[in-house]
C-alpha cells in the first residue's frame, strides 16, 4: 500500500462527502479532528462550516487553520440549534466514539437537513478473521492503541447500522461501500466485503423515532 490508510480514508471522505455538499451550504462537522475536511470544504465549496471536537489539541489545529471550531461534545452542541439549521451534519469516523450514538444521529437529523455518516465496518471479513484467529481485539493502523490505552470504541457494522436506520425510518439516500483498501467500490455483501462505509441520510418523515 503506497498511501497510509489514514490518508486514504481522508481521501475517501473528502471526495464522496465533498461531492454531496453544495456550494455555500451550512455544515456542522461533529468530531472534526484537525479541521482538514472543513478547510477543504471551505476552499472548495465556500461553505459556512463549524467543527466540534472535545480535544484541545485538535481545537488548536482548527484555529490555526482558520476553521471555526467549538470545543465540546457532539450531543450538547446539537441541542443549541433549531431544526434544519444546517444543510449538512457530518459524522466522519466519529460514531464509534460517541456515548449515545443513536441519540446523536437523531438530533443530527433534526438539526441538519442531511447527515453524512462514515465508519470503519467491523463486520469486514478481515476484522472478523482477526478476532477469530488471534482471539484479540482488533489492533491495526486504524485502531493503533491497545485496549487499555484506547477510549471505548463502539464496533459498529454495516449490518447493525442499516438495521438501526430501517427501524427508525431514516432514509439512506446514498450508501457507499469501499473495499479493504478504502478505495475500490464494493457493491455486493457489504457487511462482509466492505472495509469502510459512507451514508447520506435524511429523515423524510420528520423527527426520528426514539
Amino acid at each position: 500500500m503506497s498511501l497510509k490508510r489514514t490518508t486514504v480514508k481522508r481521501e475517501a471522505d473528502f471526495q464522496i462527502i465533498t461531492g454531496w455538499i453544495e456550494s455555500h451550504n451550512r455544515v456542522l462537522d461533529l468530531g472534526c479532528g484537525r479541521g482538514i475536511l472543513l478547510e477543504h470544504l471551505k476552499n472548495d465549496k465556500d461553505v459556512y462550516g463549524v467543527g466540534v471536537d472535545v480535544n484541545l489539541d485538535k481545537v488548536k489545529s482548527c484555529v490555526k487553520r482558520g476553521v471555526p471550531v467549538y470545543q465540546g461534545d457532539a450531543e450538547s452542541i446539537l441541542n443549541e440549534f433549531d431544526d434544519a439549521y444546517f444543510d449538512w451534519v457530518i459524522l466522519s469516523r466519529t460514531l464509534q466514539e460517541l456515548i449515545r450514538p443513536g441519540r446523536v444521529i437523531r438530533e443530527a437529523l433534526r438539526v441538519g437537513r442531511n447527515l453524512a455518516v462514515s465508519f470503519v465496518n467491523h463486520g469486514f471479513w478481515r476484522n472478523r478473521a482477526s478476532v477469530l484467529l488471534t482471539g484479540s481485539r482488533i489492533r491495526n493502523e486504524v485502531f493503533p492503541q491497545s485496549w487499555d490505552e484506547s477510549p471505548p470504541i463502539n464496533q459498529v457494522t454495516v449490518h447493525d447500522f442499516e438495521a438501526f436506520c430501517d427501524a427508525r425510518g431514516i432514509h439512506r439516500a446514498a450508501s457507499i461501500y469501499l473495499g479493504g483498501d478504502w478505495r475500490t467500490p464494493c457493491r455486493r455483501f457489504p457487511n462482509i466485503r466492505a472495509g469502510y462505509a459512507l451514508y447520506h441520510l435524511t429523515s423524510p418523515n420528520g423527527p426520528v423515532l426514539e
Binding site: 484541545l56 488548536k60 482548527c62 484555529v63 465540546g72 452542541i77 443549541e80
Partner: protein
C-alpha cells in the same frame, strides 16, 4: 484581577517590550454617557507597543479588567518590580506579537489611573466629581476609547480587540457597537451578563465601601477614603478570582513562622496573602471608581427580555475566538459558551476553546502556553 504572575525584570531581554511610557489623550469635545448626562471633556491614559504599519491596519486594542489599567506590558523604569499586567502575552514573538502588531491599551473612563473618573476635577465646578460623576456603562467605556483610536490615533479600523472579564465585555461591546471597525475579537473569561452570584459578590464589596465611615457619600479627601471598606472589597473579590483548587495549591493550610501574638492575628498564609492584596489595593485604586466599575459590570446585559442573545450577536461582523476556563466560577464556562452558541445560531464565524486550568477566573492572566498558541494562531489565521 490584574495580578499576573510576579515577573521580576532584572534586565531588558529579547522578547520584552522593555521600557514604555504612557500618553494622555485629551478629548475637548463633550461626551454624553448612556444615562444622558454629559461631561465637557475627558482624558484617557494609554500606552502603545510595536509599530503601526503603512496601511494602519495592524492595531490591536487590549481591554483591561476591573482593577487593571493601561499598563499591560513592559516597565516604566528598570527599577519596577513588576511589568505590565499582561506582559506574558504581549511582546516581540509573544502571543500578541509586537513585531507584527501595534498594540494599544487604554485606561477606562471612570478609572483612577490617569483617565477621567470620579476622583477627577469637574472643570465646571472646580471640585472633584465623586458621586456627581455620571452613571457609567461598559458601552461608555467603549465609546470613549473609540474616540481615542479613531479620532486621535487616526486608525481606520482595529485588527483585533482582546480582553478578559470586564475587558471581555468591552470586546463584545466593541464588536456590537462598531461592527465594521473591528476585524477580530477575543473575549476571554467573560459573559453577556453576570449571574446573581457575581452581582452578589460585588454588592458585598460595595456595601463594605459605603458603610465605611470614611466614605462620606463619596466626598472623601484625596489621599483619604474608605480604606478598610475598599480593602475588604478587594480581599473578598480576590477570592472569587481564584478557585478552591488554586488556593489549595498555592497555600493549602501552610502557616506563618512563629506563634502569633494574639489568637486573631493572621496565622495561615492565605490570610496574610489576602491582607496584602487588600493593603496594596488601597494604594493604587479609588473606592468610587470601584463602585462605578462594579455597577457597570452588573448592569451590562446583552440579552433581550426574552432571554436570547441573538439580537446583540447578530450585529457582530468580526470573527470571534471565545475562551472559557473550567475553574472560573465568577464567569463560568457556560456563560462563555452561551456567547458562542448565539454567534453560531446567527451564522457568525466563532470558535470556542475551554482551558482546563486551575486558577479560576484569573486563569486568563497567568502563564498558559495553550492560550498563547490559541491567540497567536487565531490572529495569524
Amino acid at each position: 484581577m490584574n495580578d499576573a504572575e510576579v515577573q521580576i525584570l532584572t534586565e531588558r531581554e529579547p522578547g520584552e517590550v522593555g521600557l514604555v511610557r504612557w500618553e494622555d489623550f485629551h478629548s475637548r469635545t463633550p461626551f454624553t454617557f448612556d444615562c444622558g448626562e454629559s461631561i465637557p471633556e475627558f482624558t484617557l491614559r494609554y500606552e502603545t507597543y510595536g509599530r503601526l504599519n503603512r496601511t494602519r491596519d495592524n492595531a490591536i486594542l487590549i481591554c483591561h479588567a476591573l482593577s487593571g489599567d493601561h499598563h499591560c506590558a513592559g516597565v516604566h523604569s528598570l527599577n519596577d518590580r513588576k511589568p505590565g499586567w499582561w506582559n506574558n502575552f504581549i511582546g516581540p514573538g509573544k502571543a500578541v506579537d509586537t513585531n507584527r502588531y501595534f498594540v494599544i491599551c487604554s485606561n477606562c473612563i471612570g478609572g483612577c489611573q490617569g483617565s477621567t473618573g470620579p476622583s477627577s476635577t469637574d472643570p465646571r465646578s472646580g471640585e472633584p466629581y465623586n458621586l456627581r460623576f455620571p452613571m457609567l456603562t461598559i458601552r461608555d467605556m467603549v465609546r470613549t476609547q473609540h474616540r481615542l483610536v479613531r479620532d486621535h490615533l487616526d486608525l481606520p479600523r482595529l485588527f483585533a480587540v482582546i480582553g478578559g472579564s470586564m475587558g471581555g465585555m468591552q470586546v463584545l461591546q466593541w464588536a456590537i457597537e462598531y461592527p465594521e471597525y473591528v476585524h477580530k475579537i477575543i473575549p476571554l473569561a467573560t459573559t453577556g451578563r453576570q449571574n446573581a452570584q457575581s452581582i452578589a459578590f460585588d454588592e458585598v464589596g460595595r456595601f463594605a465601601i459605603m458603610r465605611d465611615s470614611e466614605w462620606k457619600n463619596g466626598d472623601y479627601d484625596p489621599g483619604a477614603g474608605p480604606n478598610v471598606g475598599l480593602a475588604v472589597a478587594r480581599m473578598m473579590a480576590h477570592i472569587t478570582y481564584l478557585s478552591d483548587q488554586g488556593l489549595e495549591e498555592k497555600f493549602g493550610r501552610s502557616r506563618k513562622a512563629g506563634p502569633g501574638r494574639t489568637f486573631f492575628e493572621p496565622e495561615f498564609n492565605v490570610e496574610s496573602y489576602l491582607r496584602h492584596q487588600g493593603a496594596s489595593f488601597i494604594n493604587r485604586f479609588d473606592a468610587n471608581t470601584y463602585l462605578y466599575f462594579t455597577k457597570a459590570l452588573n448592569r451590562f446585559d446583552l440579552y433581550a427580555p426574552d432571554g436570547s442573545l441573538e439580537d446583540s450577536m447578530r450585529q457582530i461582523r468580526a470573527g470571534a475566538l471565545v475562551v472559557g476556563f473550567t475553574s472560573d466560577w465568577l464567569f463560568p464556562p457556560a456563560q462563555n459558551r452561551d456567547l458562542v452558541h448565539a454567534l453560531l445560531r446567527c451564522g457568525k464565524t466563532a470558535s470556542y476553546a475551554e482551558l482546563g486550568m486551575t486558577l479560576g477566573h484569573d486563569s486568563f492572566l497567568v502563564h498558559a502556553p495553550d492560550l498563547y498558541r490559541l491567540i497567536s494562531t487565531f490572529l495569524a489565521s
